[in-house]
Subunit: 140 residues, 4 copies
């Protein structure tokens, strides 16, 4: 499963080079990830209420061409690797008007409890684990 | 009492007009407010641990001259009005190199518990109330 | 004319009170303003290319109820006052799921050239001035 | 040469997990990079005025332990690799009170002109290239 989010570059996201500041890509990846969880049937706000958090322990991004104010972007995401304690998601950001690939990235996330202690997702929330497994295309 | 915070305009805070984006002033006011509480003897991170929050219910700012990348700023703050349920702080932001006043502002904040329900600070945390009262220059 | 923008509260926009940080409202107002200009027929990215900027010289907001992660918001904006040198816009932010009014605000903006010097919009860009005037409902 | 910047985690930088949101690390790396350039004798705001920009084409970070509101951080940076068209900087972020390493990272940056076209820094700004070369510890 691959989820897509559309967003429009905000003025506040530009910098004095006249392009979207690179720190926003992490926020855009997150918006895509949130949409992914929603479409998977496990909105992240509900997952958190059950006491499961997914803090990042790693991120990387490659910036291919700049995004500019008012550009409409398509941010796509999918699960690259799913373990019982952690998950890697991959991302691609496209400019809608011409389909140009602007950036790619990955995030590494841990499954933890509300105190940020690692949990085994398969034990802590088996239904959520199964659901992610199906999304990852790895599953039963 | 008046507290001062120094900060340097970050590249990420600029926008494509080549100036610091106006949304950052709210963040800078907050940095000054945090320093104010620390100097008052009640660091905000400790106040929160006691279950007292101070969410904003109002903000206003006047932008007189733009702040630019790498400008060093002096952000000053003081209590303008203190009640048992709410507090108004005032702010001035100066550019350090020439003393120019760049912006002024105010925030209105409520005292609440962790669930964001209003509290009477004098009852909920009398020592904190007395301390703020002294800072507000309203007397013994 | 009143323009509406829909947006979903991002995780990065939350703070440790568990609500959207107040500095984001300035960004959301801006997103609504950007949509307003687009619908008015003068996308702000094109206005800027013609050398007209609209920096803020004032902002105010009233926070009535908190916005939370994944809340869908409707941000509405309209011109409250239009002059030849400046303009005031007003905003309302609603939570879509129950129609609750979360915040109101205003921004005061100047018309300037690319060097941030004031301009008389009626002289500098008469078509844009007329267009805004029609949106403001002030005239033939 | 290694440059150090001190900064204090801002409330606006926290998220509802109660930790600094990961997107801020890119901003903190940048603050350290800005200090690095200043200490190297080439403040970035002056470099830009000469028409040399340094947009990122890559970033990566590893988050080891969370940073929290009011934590004082020491952000350290140095040049890991310097070419004529690009440069890699490395970063470490420490919590000041106990010296704990919270995060590490790298940014890859291109040298470009104001239109974001690649330049050969040795030709475009030989003095700047030499200065960075000395900072990189690569010789005469």
């Amino acid at each position: 499963m691959r989820a897509e989010t559309r967003l429009t570059v905000r003025y506040a996201e530009t910098d004095q080079m006249g392009i979207a500041h690179h720190s926003n890509y992490a926020v855009w990846f997150e918006a895509a990830r949130t949409e992914f969880m929603r479409r998977a049937g496990a909105p992240y706000s509900e997952v958190e209420k059950r006491g499961v958090l997914m803090p990042l322990y790693g991120i990387s991004a490659r910036f291919i061409a700049p995004a500019r104010f008012e550009d409409e972007l398509s941010v796509q995401t999918w699960i690259k690797e799913l373990g019982r304690a952690r998950m890697t998601l991959a991302y691609e950001i496209y400019r809608v008007k011409d389909g140009a690939l602007l950036a790619t990235g990955e995030t590494q996330q841990a499954f933890t409890d509300a105190a940020l202690r690692p949990v085994d997702l398969k034990k802590a929330a088996p239904d959520l684990y199964e659901l992610l497994k199906r999304c990852a295309g790895e599953g039963a």
